[in-house]
């Protein structure tokens, strides 16, 4: 008889499974309470109540007003709507971001027509507040810096940047707008917008144990975004289209499942993995600052091994991880995120991202740590390094 192979998921930064409690609550939305929230009849109004209730939950989580919450279909769409909506209002604007920002921020910035400054992130993978301040110009309209980097998990000083911008804005006629993509932060870090002092914030349902297909764009009241999508009047007219009620409701319920217990448990496992890899695998090196990082992320380089081959070898053992290696993507260039940390091309090719989450067990981690050293050794034998 064929032995059933283990299946261990260590790629929570890519996406998360939907929490069982959330699943239970949203299943009826697929066929029972299936109405269109714009319809005035009973079916529609029932669906609307799910969207309203999700909006309440998000507002309470962010400490914002309900009318400041816009649901979108993904974090990428939210970032596009906001960045383009701010920068396309005028010609000759300037924006500030970081060198290792997610493509969902870099690409809309690139296409906005605005001049863009990409700040260094140094070996630690952390933006410096004073660099942001120095980069501000008379025509700076937008600062967009992610709360947590998706590849290396490093935490950016959003609150400090926010406070600095508030101060700068007091001296300015044309205010700078501060946006943060917080998709990787929500599970672990405080996200009250009054504390962070952000004017806009993005979060995503499928990174927080909700379904794929819903995200949030918080826009502070008074910040004007010109629409880039056109249709009916849903979601403040900047994300028109019938609401994905199932996913939006799921996002709301998922926010309620976030717990401090998860953080403690995951942090313990993270420490164990990092300590083991650094001490038991020759030449292994952690990418990004160890302390200023979310508990779920481990990004590590194994010189002499190519990341994709290690990922595939682990996959064959039933362990799913991710790699910033070029060979895993469509382009042949290695991860620009790792290069921005000053990691060499060769080392960037030999990197692995292990991301832990709510359902990761000690046994999962132990199994991974038993399998990994042998695979690294084997691949180093093949590479002769």
């Amino acid at each position: 008889m064929m032995q059933k192979k283990k299946k261990i998921y260590l790629d929570y930064a890519a996406t998360t499974p939907v929490d069982r409690d959330v699943v239970k609550k949203i299943i009826p939305l697929l066929n029972k309470n299936f109405g269109n929230p714009s319809s005035l009849h009973f079916f529609g109004q029932e669906a609307l109540s799910y969207v309203d209730s999700a909006r309440e939950k998000v507002a309470s989580f962010l400490g914002s007003k309900e009318r400041e919450i816009v649901f979108t279909s993904s974090a990428t769409v939210a970032n596009n709507i906001f960045i383009s909506g701010i920068l396309k209002k005028e010609k000759g604007l300037h924006a500030i971001t970081s060198a290792f920002e997610h493509k969902a921020v870099l690409e809309p910035l690139k296409r906005s027509g605005a001049e863009v400054t990409h700040l260094p992130v140094y070996k630690e993978g952390v933006v410096k507040v004073k660099d942001v301040k120095k980069a501000i110009k008379e025509n700076t309209a937008l600062v967009s810096i992610g709360y947590v980097n998706s590849e290396v998990g490093t935490i950016q000083p959003i609150k400090d940047i926010g406070e600095m911008i508030v101060k700068e804005n007091k001296k300015r006629k044309k205010k700078i707008i501060f946006h943060t993509d917080a998709v990787q932060a929500v599970n672990y870090l405080p996200c009250k917008v009054e504390e962070l002092r952000t004017d806009a914030l993005t979060l995503s349902g499928h990174k927080i144990y909700g379904p794929k297909g819903a995200a949030v764009l918080f826009i502070r009241e008074g910040v004007d975004v010109s629409p880039i999508l056109f249709g009916a009047s849903q979601e403040k007219r900047i994300h028109p289209g019938t609401e994905n009620v199932f996913a939006i409701a799921g996002l709301g319920f998922a926010l309620e499942t976030i717990s401090k217990n998860d953080i403690k448990k995951i942090k313990k496992m993270q420490d164990k993995v990092i300590d083991f890899l650094l001490s038991d695998i020759p030449q292994a090196q952690l990418n990004g600052d160890r302390k200023r990082r979310i508990p779920g992320n481990i990004n590590i380089t194994f010189p002499g091994v190519e990341g994709e081959s290690l990922m595939m070898a682990l996959d064959n053992e039933g362990v799913a991880v991710s790699t910033g290696s070029a060979c895993a993507s469509k382009s042949l260039a290695p991860s620009y995120v790792l290069l921005s940390l000053g990691v060499s091309h060769e080392e960037a090719h030999g990197s692995l991202r292990i991301s832990l989450g709510r359902f990761t067990t000690k046994e999962d981690v132990d199994y991974f740590l038993v399998k990994l050293p042998g695979l690294v050794k084997k691949l180093r034998k093949i590479s002769g390094r």
Partner: protein
Amino acid sequence: MSNYYTKETMERFLNPRFMGEIKDPSGVGEVGNPRCGDQMTVFIKIKEGKIEKATFKTLGCAAAIATSDVVCEIVTGKTVEEALSVTKEEMIKKLKKLPPVKIHCSSLAIEGLKKAIDDYKKKQK
């Protein structure tokens, strides 16, 4: 297991039969560079005009390792001239297929082989 690669590719990648060095090679070919990620070295031992043994060392993705293994297998027992006419298609056939972005790996393996043969020819002069 993911089905990104064929069973044949995974089998080659996980259990390569031609990896390693030849102590006293007739020719060595090194291709690739640290920037592109894949670095491959092909070793050949030639006896009476035929490739008696071919081995490789590869730092690269699963496809790069699998195609290195394939090229070594295909050329073993062939004359130098026969070996020079190995094609990508012939190699990919052994793996059933390769994802489109990985086709370049098979070109790299052929390039490595050609360099090893060049090296052998130079030494003959």
